[in-house]
Structures are given as structure tokens and as C-alpha cells.
Amino acid sequence: MASPGRVVLEVRDLHAYLYTRWGVVRAVDGVSFALREGETLGLVGESGCGKTMTALSVLRLMPEPAGRIVQGQVLLEGEDLVTKSESEMRRVRGRRISMILQDPQTSLNPVFTVGSQIVEALRMRYADGVDALRRLAEEALRRVKVAAPAERLRAFPHQMSGGMKQRVVGAIAVAGEPRVLIADEPTTALDVTIQLQYLVLLKEIQARTRLAMLFITHDFGIVARMCDRVAVMYAGRIVETGPTRALFRAPRHPYTAALMASVPRMEASVERLPSIEGQPPLLHHMPVGCRFAPRCSYVDDRCRREYPPVVPIGPAHEASCWRVEPSPPSR
């Protein structure tokens, strides 16, 4: 694992809501985290807990017109992205922060060749001529280990396998040499054998470029393999963060513990949690106190009344739970 560098991306108390016809969905409701150069932070949680919305609001690409950032800061190398104009944001996307989407089958435009889609991304960064850009595109494909890149540039997406497409998506994501890469469950749609290759590839790219990576997943096996630190998200908030090893050894938030208990072997996924009773709260009908209270086995009155504060536990390890006792600062 890389030694921690300087902070590249810092999210402070971010609130991003979806204003739908049926009420306000508080998809991201007070999320804070920091991401350092060369570091991978895992963002873990059940489906619909706000992981993807967090990523999209960092890039200011929430679904329009419903989505809006209501409060908070997204500091990229000290600059607040929340206050930037749309045209300023366009210069951020791809060049400074990039993202790999979940489903390679639908991430590429079916009517354009793979080459033109990579060139399009490169053109945003380099003012070279078409021929030079095509050479760069070929190079980009070679770097994500696509065989016969010159031929592949002329192919259409439907002529490629899912794994190959996701490599192309990866190539597009890093084409602009971003400092931060958000990977939103990039391997969920891939076969198990191809998943591993892809993860190795991402690690290689990171080692070469010292990218800061935000890795969204619901798979603890992948967390263990990829992430330096983990943030566990529940119902729009981060309930526990900590170094991967510490968190795995001693999860402190009941939700984290339950998540892990429900995954007896590290490979299984937590898309559904048979061992946790009940359903996550609907994001527009949020309980007043701790959001996990209705499903928590340790719940008491205080949990239902008041949202717990963030409690420091160990080095870079903290959790939001009334039951957690702060540990002495030095250990």
C-alpha cells in the first residue's frame, strides 16, 4: 500500500437531495471524508444508501432537474467545487476527477466507435491533431491491456466483451490524467475471473499515477483487496470509517458488524442482508434519531430520539453510535 500523501479531495458535510414529485429524498445527508494521493477509500453499504449519489454530487452530475447540492463543500486541492459554474466544472471532469461507471454494457455509446469515444476524452485535455490523438488513444488502450489496440479503435462497443468494454471505460476515465478516480462498482457486472484482472489493472494504474481512488462497492472481498480505508454508509450518512484492517478486526458500529456478520466469507456480497432484520428506511421517510435504530439489536430510547455524534475510536477510526465509547487518543 502506498504511503499516505497530501489530501487531494475533501468532502465536508455534504448534503445532496433529490426533489421528486413525491417528496424530498435526502440521498446524501451530511457526508464527510478525505482522500489522499495514492490512497484508496472504500465506500461500502447496501443498495440505495447513497453511495452513487455521493459520487455524482462530487462531480456535480446528479440527475437533473431533481438533484441539488443543498449544503457542504467539495474541496479539490483546496478549491470548492460546489460553488463552481457549470463551465468550470467541465474543466474539472475528466481532467482532475474522473469516474468509472458500473455497467460496461451501457457505458459506451452504441452508435460511435470505441476510438472516437476515447479520442473525444483525449481532446478535452490535449490540443493535438486527430492523428496524434488517435496515437494517444491507441496508447491508452495498450495501457489498459487491450490486445490489438489499433484494430479495437475501429470497433463498435457491441463487438466487444463486457470485460473489454470496461477496460475501454477505464481508459477513457484515466485519459485526462485525473488526480481522483471514482470507481462505482466497476466489476459488479463482470465475470468473477475478469473481475480480478480488472482490479489488478486499477491497482497498477494507481501505482503508476498516484491516483486517489474512491472505490464504491458492496463487496467486502473487494474492499479487503483494494482499499486502504473504508467508509461504511447507511441511509445517506457515513456511520463508521477506519483503516481497512482495524475495521475488519473490530467493527464498532452495529451496522458494520451486522454487515460483516452477514458475510461469513469475505468473498460474498452484501447486496441483500439476511441477518439484518427489516429494510433500510425510505430516504424520504427518515427516522428522527439514529437511522439504523429500527433494525438495530442494541437500540435504546436515546437512539430513537437523537442522532449519535461522531466518536473517535482509534487512529483514523471513528463511528457514529451511542454505544461506542471513545478510546484514549494515544495508543
Binding site: G94, V111, E120
Partner: protein, 305 residues
């Protein structure tokens, strides 16, 4: 690709054969076909002559053979009203319709696409609602009535546009509008809904992640995908256009094949009507074939299938 075209050609030929069968059969289900095929004031001698010429005294399968071989040679019978080859009359009129249809189609596309895009991009706003309202009205308005109302307003009350027949550019305005409106309404709705669907797709997100502007994303990445259903439905639109041309040309006394169809109905000119139908079927099927090939160009997934 060649096999695809060949298969489509065969399908078209089969369909044409079926239409020919229907035309053939309908002339014979209602009693004596000779009643349909000659003038009412024809003498017994005329009738006997034609009966022989068309082979109506022979067994049914021989009649069919005579009819089909004649049709293939381009002999589709004599028009009762015009007293000459029905096919000849049709081809005389065809150019006039061909001047009108593309105009209406192009006009409908030229308005439907930008309006559909605007409605989708500004969905839920006033623009969207206005466009939606226009579409609902456009679909509910009977074409023949729209033509008459337009004549009343622009020709009779305002006196700014000619109401009938062909002539200079101003003669094209009202017929083209009448013909285009219905098409426009349906197309606009389709462009809007398919664009909305495309705009929510992952590849649009990826395009925006590259830092492309919203305008480029919509007009380059979305529109081409959104137009695929429009092209898919082109065959349906063309059929609507041919139908609409019958009504529109009737209202505006436009001397095309649509008006000819109406005349054939009104004057009970069965030979003319059957010629019109078979020839229009050939045209419609050819256009559909061309469009399918074009479609394969637009959507690479089909091209390489």
C-alpha cells in the same frame, strides 16, 4: 447485408402478391366483376367484349393467371373514367404527389426534432407543456378538416394563400402544413420520449464525465440514439403520409395520386382503384426497403448483425 436485402426483397414481393390477391378477390366476391369493371352505360356488346378480353368467362385460376401476368407487364386495366391505361394515368399524376410528400415530411422533421429536443431538455417547463399540448391537438385534428379550416382562414378570410390546385411556391404552403401536422405531432412526442430515455442512460453520464458540454452531449451523443426509433417507425410514418395525401390532395384539389385515389372511389372506377393500390403498394414497399438499409447504417448494431 446482401442477404438481408435479398430477404427483404422476397418479403416485399410476397406482400405485393397478397395485395394483388385481395384486389383480385374483392372484384369477384360481390357478384359479377364485370359490373365493377365497365361503365354503367356500357352496351351489352361492350360488356361481352371486355368479359372476353379479361377472361372472365374462364375458370378462376386462369383469371388469376391472366390478372397477375398482366400486372407484372404493367397492364393494370383500363380506367373507366379516363378511358385509358390506369397505370398511365397514375404515372402522370405521380410527380405532383412527389413534390408534396417530401416537403411535408421534411417540414415535419425540421420542426419535430428541435421541438422534441427542447421539450425533453426543458421537461416540465412551459416549453414542454406547450409542445405537449400542440401534439395532443395535432393528433386529435382530422386532417381533412384542418385543410378546410386553413382554407377558410388563409384563403377566404385573409386572402393571403391560394386554396387549390398547383402553382407557385405559395400553393404548397397549406397542403404541406395540412399533411405535415399530424406527422409532426407524433414524431415530436417520439423524439421527446426517446431522447428522455437516452438522456438517462449511462453512456450520457460517461460523456459528461469526459467534460463535454451539455449541448454537445445532447446533439451528438443523445440525438443520434434518440432518432433510431424515429427511423424505425419511418415505414409507419410513410404509410400515414400516403394516407394523408389522399385526404389533403382531395381538399386542395391537388392533381396527384392521392386525389386520383379519391376520384377512383367517387366514380366507382374499380380498374383505376386497383391500379392505384398496386402501384402505391410497390412504392411503399420500396421506400420501406430503402429505409431499412438506411437504418442499418444509423445503428451499427444492426449493420453487423
Amino acid at each position: 447485408m446482401q442477404r438481408y436485402i435479398l430477404r427483404r426483397l422476397l418479403q416485399g414481393a410476397l406482400l405485393l402478391f397478397i395485395v394483388a390477391l385481395v384486389v383480385f378477390a374483392l372484384a369477384r366476391v360481390s357478384g359479377n366483376p364485370i359490373d365493377l369493371l365497365v361503365r354503367e352505360d356500357a352496351t351489352a356488346e361492350d360488356r361481352a367484349h371486355l368479359q372476353k378480353a379479361l377472361g372472365l368467362d374462364r375458370p378462376m385460376h386462369e383469371q388469376l393467371y391472366i390478372f397477375l401476368t398482366g400486372a407484372v407487364r404493367g397492364d393494370l386495366g383500363q380506367s373507366i373514367r379516363y378511358r385509358r391505361s390506369a397505370a398511365e394515368v397514375f404515372f402522370e399524376r405521380l410527380p405532383n404527389t412527389l413534390k408534396l410528400l417530401p416537403l411535408a415530411m421534411a417540414g415535419a422533421l425540421a420542426i419535430a426534432i428541435p421541438l422534441g429536443v427542447l421539450a425533453a431538455v426543458y421537461r416540465g417547463t412551459l416549453v414542454d407543456r406547450l409542445a405537449g399540448g400542440l401534439a395532443v391537438l395535432g393528433i386529435a385534428t382530422p386532417q381533412f378538416w384542418l385543410g378546410i379550416v386553413l382554407i377558410y382562414v388563409f384563403s377566404i378570410q385573409l386572402g393571403v394563400l391560394p386554396s387549390a390546385r398547383m402553382g407557385g411556391p405559395s400553393h404548397y404552403v397549406l397542403p404541406a402544413v395540412t399533411l405535415g401536422v399530424f406527422l409532426l405531432a407524433g414524431m415530436m412526442r417520439l423524439v421527446r420520449s426517446s431522447l428522455l430515455e437516452v438522456m438517462g442512460s449511462e453512456f450520457v453520464k460517461l460523456a459528461r464525465l469526459k467534460g463535454l458540454s451539455q449541448t454537445i452531449v445532447i446533439w451528438k451523443h443523445c440525438l443520434r440514439n434518440a432518432l433510431i426509433p424515429v427511423v424505425t417507425l419511418f415505414g409507419v410514418y410513410f404509410a400515414l403520409l400516403v394516407t394523408g395525401a389522399i385526404v389533403t390532395e382531395t381538399v386542395f384539389a391537388w392533381p396527384g395520386v392521392g386525389r386520383l385515389t379519391y376520384e377512383a372511389v367517387i366514380f366507382r372506377d374499380y380498374p383505376l382503384l386497383q391500379a392505384v393500390i398496386l402501384l402505391k403498394a410497390v412504392i411503399v414497399l420500396s421506400v420501406n426497403l430503402v429505409v431499412d438499409i438506411l437504418y442499418a447504417y444509423l445503428d451499427p448494431r444492426v449493420r453487423y448483425a
